[in-house]
């Protein structure tokens, strides 16, 4: 219980600090970075008319991802670091992709499905990065880990361990 409380507090502190940083400096700098990098990439893949920063309010989805990866207890630091790097790169690509969906936008509505995917991406990436920890969620749930044989699954039913005491 105490650990859950501490993890929650850590998440709040980290994400609040990152949100403050984003609002004060990060958003502007990230916008500049996108304006420099994105047109070249869009030209390269044949979407030269895409508007950079079209759905900029959704670029903030990196914050919960970073918060979750940092606070996940028991995750190896190497995995945490590599996961953060690859995850942030994926979110950046997600932002580039999200801008391309602006054309599908209805009047007065967000492009619904791309926004939904964009909002879910941090959660999905976190599940992948934190899988060694999250894996116990899937323990004792029938059907999922069917490909991973149980330690004794090949042993004949009549072969049992001798009593130890």
């Amino acid at each position: 219980m105490k650990r859950a409380f501490l993890v929650t507090v850590a998440f709040v502190v980290i994400t609040m600090s990152l949100t403050w940083f984003w609002e004060e400096f990060g958003r502007l700098q990230y916008g500049r970075l996108l304006k420099t990098v994105a047109p070249t990439i869009y030209d390269w893949i044949g979407f030269g008319d895409a508007r950079v920063g079209a759905l900029r309010q959704r670029y903030i989805n990196w914050i919960p991802f970073v918060g979750l990866v940092i606070i996940t207890p028991g995750l190896a630091w190497k995995r945490r670091f590599i996961g953060l790097s690859l995850g942030l790169a994926t979110l950046f690509l997600g932002h580039l992709g999200l801008n391309l969906t602006e054309g599908a936008r209805r009047t007065g509505h967000l492009p619904f499905v791309p926004s939904l995917i964009s909002d879910t991406l941090p959660l999905i990436l976190w599940v992948i990065v934190a899988f060694p920890v999250v894996a116990n969620w899937f323990d004792s749930t029938p059907g999922l880990i069917a490909s991973e044989p149980k330690p004794d699954s090949n042993r004949p039913p009549d072969q049992v361990d001798p009593p130890t005491d």
């Binding site: 989805n61 967000l110 976190w126």
Partner: protein
């Protein structure tokens, strides 16, 4: 001699990959989201009436929650006020996105059908309640610390969206799946 499909290296590798929960679960969540989101998007026009009713219902619920602590709150349609500070409840505020994402996470989870159905039902209810707390907090922040309203509006959107989903999903797994 023909090699059975399951013995071909690429097929067996793909089978192994798709049965690995680290790949399968996220892929299933995304698939269900694509299906559910597309269906929802396609029926947005038909759902306009119910969605507007949901916005008003959410506004009414926020008003009811805040009025437990103060008489200074009013509600008209989608507008809730606290001592002169007003917020308008739009469709992004009612927690539908969160419920869709959460439901996809539950439906993709390897648990009995009944457990998943209960998970979707109670989880969406929990998200609705959390969402009321979120809007009520924003209303209080806006009334008393107006300078910080924009910051908290941004903060309570994305950061708490994922935290809320992970929290409710974890509670569902602990209470319903692993009991």
């Amino acid at each position: 001699m023909a090699v059975p499909p399951e013995d071909r290296p690429i097929v067996s590798r793909l089978t192994r990959l798709t049965s690995n929960p680290q790949v399968r679960y996220p892929a299933l969540v995304l698939t269900y989201l694509l299906i559910g989101g597309s269906l929802f998007n396609a029926s947005l026009d038909e759902l306009r009436g119910p969605l507007e009713a949901l916005e008003e219902r959410t506004a009414w619920s926020v008003h009811a929650l805040v009025s437990l602590f103060t008489d200074l709150t009013t509600q008209r349609g989608k507008l809730v006020t606290l001592d002169g500070f007003a917020v308008s409840i739009i469709i992004e505020c009612v927690g539908l996105l969160e419920m869709l994402i959460y439901s996809a996470c539950v439906i993709a989870f390897p648990a009995p059908l009944r457990t998943r159905a209960l998970g979707v039902l109670f989880g969406c209810l929990a998200i609705f309640v959390f969402n009321l707390l979120r809007i009520s907090t924003l209303l209080i922040v806006g009334r008393h610390w107006g300078d910080y309203f924009d910051f908290f509006h941004v903060y309570f959107w994305q950061a708490t969206l994922i935290a809320m989903i992970v929290g409710v999903l974890y509670a569902w797994i602990k209470l319903f799946v692993h009991r």
